[in-house]
């Protein structure tokens, strides 16, 4: 049994202009002591997935259906007390912006001790000692002095360290890191990533790393989920995703990052603009931007195809390839021959 099992999770925001399906049927497992990366562009639903697991969605967001199981215990629809027991103690989260995720009117010590006292049975002095220990652990000097300081007295990198200390104070099984280094400079980012790797090894927790930075994914993760328009287009290990991408979106994404010098030539961008989540296309959400879109891509969404035990991909081209190689027989009503021809310039 996996530590965390997410099955067909659907989260929508019910706005005035209509339902936005921010997460539209996503499934993945998180194993003990492993790092899972969720990568995608803004609006792909990666943060909403993270918030759904913690169930800290703000109005008008709601989990519509699906299941999130932690050690076999269902979290969707669980009562307040169960959730309170899990948040912070079993699953913790670090947010993107260390500038706004700490309360400016309370001292660092106050905020750290609050988290510790809420989730464990430690008394005030024990909580103080634990907080000092945590500040030391995340590599901040003079911990006793820091306890009395306010967030504005610390730099961005230090604040993010405090957030990590707070998240790890109760030794959670899973740490969700939602773009933990996006707001930081590269040299500070390197410090924070190294710290997270070190603590992950020491404490043996699992991490869900939500980011748009492919470099961070490579540095940190064992497995990756690539998201586009609320769906997982591809899942696999880091090497599989980066060296043998199966979904056209992943391929496009990897081609559009600059690897080296000007001499290597132009970048190959993905054409078009991101999808409008209020007017999702009928077929595959990526089809309007896909250069290899077939007729079926515009008509019907492709379900996730299991390629091997660690990989899935949701792309009609994988089925076409299999048919071409005679690995599977086309079923007429399933994929008519005509539908596997290139769509006339896609929907562009």
């Amino acid at each position: 049994m996996s530590l965390l099992e997410v099955r067909d999770l659907r989260t929508s925001f019910f706005t005035h202009s209509g339902e936005v399906k921010a997460v539209d049927g996503i499934s993945f497992n998180v194993e003990k002591g492993k790092v899972l990366g969720i990568v995608g562009e803004s609006g792909s639903g990666k943060s909403v997935t993270a918030y759904s697991i913690m169930q800290i969605l703000s109005y008008p967001g709601k989990i519509v259906s699906g299941s999130i199981k932690l050690n076999g215990v269902e979290l969707v629809g669980a009562d307040k007390n169960t959730l309170r027991d899990i948040r912070g103690r079993k699953i913790s989260i670090i947010f993107q912006d260390p500038m706004t995720s700490l309360n400016p009117v309370f001292t660092i010590g106050n905020q750290l001790m609050e988290a510790i006292r809420l989730h464990t049975s430690r008394n005030k002095t024990e909580a103080f000692d634990r907080a000092v220990e945590m500040i030391k652990l995340v590599g901040i000097n003079e911990p006793e002095k820091r306890m009395k300081q306010y967030p504005h007295e610390l730099s961005g990198g230090m604040r993010q360290r405090i957030m990590i200390a707070m998240a790890l104070a109760c030794e959670p099984d899973i740490l969700i890191a939602d773009e933990p280094t996006t707001a930081l400079d590269v040299t500070i980012q390197a410090q924070i990533l190294e710290l997270m790797q070190k603590l992950q090894k020491e404490m043996g927790m699992a991490i869900i790393m939500v980011t748009h930075d492919l470099g961070v994914i490579v540095t940190m993760c064992d497995e990756v989920v690539v998201m586009y328009a609320g769906k997982a287009c591809e899942k696999g290990t880091v090497d599989e995703i980066f060296y043998d991408p199966k979904h056209e979106y992943t391929k496009g994404l990897l081609k559009s990052i600059p690897y080296g010098s000007k001499a290597l030539g132009r970048l190959i961008p993905i054409d078009g603009s991101p999808v409008d989540m209020l007017n999702m296309p009928q077929g595959c959400a990526f089809a309007p931007r896909c250069s290899k879109a077939m007729k079926i891509c515009l008509k019907e969404k492709c379900e996730e195809i299991v390629l091997n035990n660690s990989r899935t991909s949701a792309c009609w081209l994988n089925i076409k390839e299999a048919i071409d190689k005679n690995e599977i027989q086309p079923v007429n009503e399933f994929v008519p021959e005509d539908d596997l021809s290139l769509a006339d310039g896609g929907a562009r």
Binding site: L193, D213, P258
Partner: protein
Amino acid sequence: MPKEKTKEVLVEVIDLKQHFDIHMGFLKSKKLKAVDGISFKINKGETLGLVGESGCGKTTAGRSLLHLYTPTDGQIFFNGKQVVTKEELENFRQNASMVFQDPYSSLNPRMTVGDIIGEPLDVHKLYTTKEERKARINELMELVGLSSEHATRYAHEFSGGQRQRVGIARALAVSPQLIVCDEPVSALDVSIQAQVINMFEDLQKKLHLTYLFIAHDLLVVRHISDRIAVMYLGKIVETAESEELFNNPMHPYTRSLMSAVPSPDPKTARASKRIVLTGDVPSPLAIPSGCPFRTRCPQAFGRCSEEIPQLREVSPNHFASCHLLDDLQAK
């Protein structure tokens, strides 16, 4: 390098300083030395990348170059002429424009996109009839890959990438020779970022533009720049041709900066050794004595705190400022 580039200097900056007064209370003020004596040249048709961490003064350097702030000290030569008087400045601004970082806040939400692009034309009176203005706006929009039918729309109706295209069209309106691009792609998603970078390159070829490309993303800067200058706490610590800089970084800061960038390639990432710097960037209000980098430098020694290292040529066209390099040369 088989490059046919005229080595004509377009912009030359000598010892540019930009200090700000920070009021610390009644009659008390401190100098914030955002840019503290930087010099560089940009050749015609070239892209100079300016990199550094937040607070190192790279944006300020770009802004003072365009006289968006009045520089505290230093000289700026454009096409060999110094920019001093009001007329010269007006003329300079027709030849140099800027693309801003945030496409969400740099466009006036109450103006149509056509008017935003047309504003520089109005300011510099670059048309005689209304038709001419409209034709120029349409031309500019087509140039950056926007449909000219959208000229009557407002900025909020466009996506981030399209808005940045509007910002670029506005910068191109005065037919400038130099464009200062201040983090023009950092607010965009990767797939859109590649579109905009390609457009910058296409426009450069088509219109013979010169760029000062300010960014913190080293992968992007390496891709787009011919030469790169690395800034730390208001000073340029190293400058070289971009491949030379990446293959052979001399300054300890440049080295650690490069190793800190997580590589998007698993094999390279596993093979590379990270140099993780300790500590944060010091406040620009309290710049350390001597070499500004010494507080974080893994190789700092006695002399670093006493003497400010000067930028000097360590190999042809490769400049760096570090005391360690002296010893190297002496040996």
